[in-house]
């Protein structure tokens, strides 16, 4: 097998395929069952990351790629997490402004 081609047993694709179906059903079930607040958000995030991980690793063959290209793909995504962190951190200001708004308008 020449470097760069991706040939893997059929079994692993079917396993991941099934897994994706199950995890999707589970994340739909979160809404169906009506979980709220942190349980809901936590479960949604776990199922989302599981699905994203399996699609990336197996279907997109990232698991079998060389480290330099994996790093080139994943490291820039760290910047997104930093951005998310900044927005989350700043959201306290939004919350304070909202509370002031509701206090002033009495709504």
């Amino acid at each position: 097998m020449a470097e760069g081609t991706q040939q893997h047993p059929l079994k692993i694709y079917f396993q991941v395929w099934t897994l994706l179906f199950v995890v999707s059903a589970l994340s739909y079930w979160v809404d169906w069952y009506g979980f709220q607040s942190y349980t809901r958000w936590g479960l949604i995030l776990i199922f989302m990351l599981l699905k994203a991980g399996f699609i990336c690793a197996i279907f997109m063959h990232m698991w079998w790629e060389r480290l330099p290209i994996i790093a080139a793909i994943l490291m820039p995504c760290f910047a997104i997490l930093v951005f998310v962190f900044i927005m989350w951190h700043e959201s306290y200001w939004t919350l304070i402004i909202r509370k002031i708004y509701f206090a002033v308008t009495g709504s």
Binding site: Q6, S27, I44, M48, M60, P68, F83
Partner: protein, 235 residues
């Protein structure tokens, strides 16, 4: 890969990651250039979608009106029951199915199984087209209920803007993917990757690596939907 059959394949030695990044001539040794370029494009696309989702969350937490309950807005009436998120769930499963057929198409492509690869590509394209169809149905339903980019009857007015922008941008990606898939399906069935027929636009010979590159794009579309499903529809 045919050109490699008679020559000794030079497998790049395992180098340290920093050494390879800093190497002259070529980084990502052994990775076809088309694949590396597709990955770089996908990283940039990741940034675009991330910014959409981050701005959506920021807007959602800062509006003074309540955010509409997606579970109800996207529910469908089946008989007497209002099933929450029914269409969205079906769309999710269809996209995952198409991702599976695409992954298998890539596998059969590398095995040079022209027929299987072609049929699986065709299945992927048809699933993708049905996804776009359902999205069009969803848009029509919401527009008829009075959802506009600046206003909607369910709550915060930003809901419409975010909905049309994010699902519209994703839908555009799916549509382009479907067109791309149909073109590649034709090329597979015609045997372009076996005979080395030159491409219409590029005048270059291609091989089944092109199917993997196509696959990367298609899986990415599914990947983005995973995030949209979680953050926009379920949150």
């Amino acid at each position: 890969m045919e050109s490699n059959q008679n020559v000794e394949v030079i497998v790049p030695e395992k180098q340290s990651f920093s050494k390879e990044w800093a190497s002259d001539q070529k980084a990502f040794k052994g990775v076809p250039w088309g694949k590396a370029m597709m990955w770089i494009f996908l990283v940039s696309d990741t940034f675009v979608f991330s910014i959409f989702l981050i701005s959506y969350m920021t807007v959602r937490f800062s509006t003074k009106a309540d955010w509409p309950n997606a579970s109800e807005v996207f529910g469908l009436h089946v008989g007497d029951y209002n099933v929450p998120l029914l269409l969205i769930a079906i769309m999710t499963f269809i996209l995952i199915t198409s991702s599976g057929t695409m992954a298998l198409a890539v596998k059969y492509g590398y095995e040079k199984n022209r027929k299987m690869c072609g049929y699986l590509m065709l299945a992927t394209a048809v699933f993708g087209a049905s996804f776009v169809g359902m999205q069009a149905f969803e848009w029509t339903k919401l527009i008829s209920e009075g959802v506009r980019p600046w206003d909607n009857p369910f709550g915060a007015p930003q809901f419409g803007a975010i909905f049309f922008m994010i699902t519209g941008f994703h839908g555009t990606h799916v549509t382009i993917g479907v067109i791309f898939l149909f073109i590649m399906t034709r090329k597979v069935f015609r045997g372009d990757f076996d005979t080395g027929r030159r491409g219409f636009f590029t005048s270059q010979k291609s091989n089944y690596e092109a199917i993997e590159i196509m696959g990367l794009y298609w899986h990415f579309v599914d990947l983005v939907w995973v995030f949209i499903f979680a953050f926009f529809y379920l949150w």
